[in-house]
């Protein structure tokens, strides 16, 4: 009788364990798939879907399938907040990997802090992880790191007096503020500071003023979208030969297509995924980058971008943390994230810690230059 009971009990436990093992790992996401930030959210969504499919085909994580839920927040912070609430309360996800833009991310931060759920953001600004928030992590380099990478390159070329020209958007203004803050640390002096409006179509006035600023040696354009392309065309039209730097916001082939021949010689900081073939063979990231590029372009027939890379990193980091924690217990996953070191991702090599929730240093950002109409890594 006791033996029968033991058999029944173990059978029950086995059934319960098997049933538990079938419980999927729920990963939630809200991305700007449409709207003004669609160039961010669209490759991010495609990347998440592609790699969740691949992971599930290989048996899932911890023997469990991954169930991905993606909502389109269209770049709207209000919508992002509503969808995040839905992911946490209705869909009961274990981890959130999302937030294409800084605005959307910051709107969701109070929610995840209160709910106690790990959140890996795919947005740029440094305020997301500074000051460090317990449950919030992020994958891309911050705009401050982009500024620092640019200044390091400028200093190496002997360019110490520079002019800034930036747009009116949130990213533009944030990057400009960060650059102004860290310039002195790198021995860079800002001798001119011009700006243009969101829909402006002619920046020759601002560039003419910059050209006559005393001692100016280089120009940095903080912006993304069509503004930088117009700045670049105007720059060449005015015949300005000083080095021109752009931000990582235009690190794509689209920019070269828009600016045309005027883009020759432009430099910017970007993750190496922009042109992985041009990396030296011993580079630790090269294998991961080439694999991602091949798989993404093969499936979606569109150029790979740094933004899709942020989503890849977010997903793989979440999966790695779940594996290390051995479960989807939120606190366990969170601590596991903080313990990740030496993780080779698309954006760089991640080294998280309790005080560093972005885990990247400036070395993941390479300096690219446009040569013969293509991005080439120069440092």
């Amino acid at each position: 009788m006791l033996k029968g009971l033991a058999v029944a009990a173990s059978a029950l436990a086995f059934a319960a364990g098997a049933a538990f093992a079938q419980e999927p790992i729920r990963i939630g996401s809200f991305l700007a798939v449409t709207g003004p930030a669609a160039f961010l959210g669209d490759p991010e969504q495609k990347t998440l879907e592609l790699y969740v499919e691949k992971l599930n085909a290989a048996g899932g994580v911890l023997g469990r399938k991954i169930q991905l839920t993606v909502y389109d927040s269209a770049g709207d912070a209000e919508k992002a907040r509503a969808f995040a609430k839905r992911l946490i309360e209705q869909d009961k996800v274990d981890v959130i990997v999302g937030g294409s833009t800084t605005g959307e991310t910051m709107a969701v931060v109070p929610l995840v802090e209160q709910a106690g759920i790990p959140f890996i953001s795919l947005a740029g600004a440094v305020v997301i992880v500074e000051p460090v928030k317990k449950w919030v992590f992020k994958t891309p380099h911050s705009d401050r790191q982009a500024c620092e990478r640019i200044f390091v390159d400028m200093k190496a070329r002997g360019l110490t007096k520079i002019a800034l020209i930036s747009g009116a958007g949130g990213f533009d203004k944030s990057m400009r503020a960060q650059c102004m803050q860290v310039a002195k640390n790198h021995g860079i002096e800002i001798v001119a500071d011009e700006s243009y409006g969101a829909g402006d179509t002619d920046m020759t006035a601002q560039l003419t003023k910059i050209r006559s600023a005393p001692g100016v040696q280089a120009v940095l354009n903080c912006g993304f979208g069509q503004g930088p392309a117009i700045v670049t065309k105007n720059y060449r039209q005015l015949g300005i030969t000083l080095p021109l730097y752009q931000s990582h916001g235009v690190a794509s082939k689209e920019f070269i297509k828009l600016a045309g021949g005027a883009a020759e010689g432009i430099r910017l900081p970007a993750a190496a995924i922009l042109a992985p073939e041009t990396l030296p063979d011993g580079d630790p990231q090269k294998k991961v980058l080439l694999a991602y590029k091949r798989e993404f372009e093969g499936r979606f027939k569109q150029d790979v971008s740094t933004f899709g890379g942020h989503a890849y990193d977010g997903l793989m980091l979440a999966v790695e943390a779940i594996r290390r924690a051995g479960s989807t217990n939120k606190e366990a996953v969170r601590s596991a994230l903080e313990s990740i070191r030496g993780f080779v991702g698309i954006d760089g090599i991640f080294n998280f810690s309790p005080t560093d929730h972005v885990g990247l240093d400036v070395s993941g950002l390479r300096i690219f230059e446009v040569r013969n109409g293509n991005w080439t890594v120069v440092k």
């Binding site: 402006d200 003023k209 039209q237």
Partner: protein, 291 residues
């Protein structure tokens, strides 16, 4: 100093010519019907986007341009036939709101027919900058200024020497009298919409190599063109041109000499100041209603 001034002036004239073409579109429709067509900016967008997609599909540039202008004119005719004409008896405010709705519809259709990306058109004759007395000009700017001049002359001939043009003018002066002398006022309205749409499309095509085009360029260009039309005096053709050029130059000078961040604000403040002292605009007559 004067090389800088010349640079700002050239930039202002180029932008001003585009505003002038858009403003002419507003004026022609306003003259024929007292309706302010807020979908005017969308015609500019359609011209640019259609040319980009037709050229990408393999059509030689001149054919793509011609097809795009015709397409925009067709949209203008459709707008008049299906949105404005059925509401003919309604108050003018209603008609204006209808055109606002049409502009939103056209923008939405544009994202379906094309996409939300920004597109560039190849400059018509290369982009090697031309030096003029210390300032530089993109060759495309010469196209903009040249074609605008030609269009202004053609329109002057059209309105003063052809029967159809005189009919449009007559309708703008007094609709009832025009009807009484046998002018088909409905056809006049149709032609004015088609003509305005074509003008807007040409503006969009001329400026696409310089300023790029996308599904939402119509919003700001329509607004600035409208402001230019008001500045020059709504209802006055020469006023539209003067207003457009003036707005473009004020913008460029404001960005150059005052502050680049407040460029748009400066232009609109100037507009307000002019209207305080000259309510009819620079070249307009004050409107008078017969009681």
């Amino acid at each position: 100093m004067s090389a800088e001034f010349l640079q700002f002036l050239l930039a202002g004239l180029t932008a001003g010519a585009i505003y002038a073409l858009v403003a002419l579109g507003f004026t022609i429709i306003y003259n024929a019907s007292h309706v302010i067509n807020f979908a005017q900016g969308e015609f500019v967008m359609i011209g640019g986007m259609a040319t980009v997609s037709l050229a990408a599909a393999g059509l030689p540039l001149p054919a793509a341009i011609a097809a795009a202008v015709l397409a925009a004119a067709a949209v203008g005719l459709a707008l008049e036939k299906f949105a404005v004409e059925p509401a003919r008896g309604a108050p003018v405010v209603t008609l204006i709101i209808i055109t606002i709705g049409a502009s939103i519809l056209l923008r939405g259709l544009a994202t379906l027919v094309w996409d939300k990306k920004i597109h560039a058109l190849k400059p018509f004759s290369g982009d090697a900058p031309i030096r003029i007395g210390g300032a530089t000009l993109a060759p495309q700017s010469l196209w903009v200024l040249g074609v605008t001049l030609v269009i202004v002359l053609v329109l002057a001939w059209f309105f003063n020497r052809t029967l159809l043009g005189k009919a449009l003018l007559a309708t703008s002066h007094n609709r009832l009298a025009a009807q009484l002398v046998g002018i088909n006022v409905r056809r006049v309205l149709l032609v004015s919409f088609g003509l305005s749409a074509a003008l807007g499309a040409i503006a969009g095509i001329l400026t696409a190599p310089i300023t790029f085009t996308s599904w939402d360029v119509g919003i700001m260009l329509g607004l600035k063109g409208f402001a230019a039309a008001i500045l020059g005096g709504l209802g006055s053709g020469p006023g539209a041109i003067v207003g457009g050029l003036a707005l473009g130059i004020v913008e460029a000078m404001g960005a150059g000499y005052v502050s680049s961040a407040y460029k748009d604000a400066i232009a609109f403040v100037v507009l307000l100041a002019v209207l305080f002292f000259l309510p009819g605009g620079l070249l307009g007559r004050g409107g008078a209603e017969r009681v």
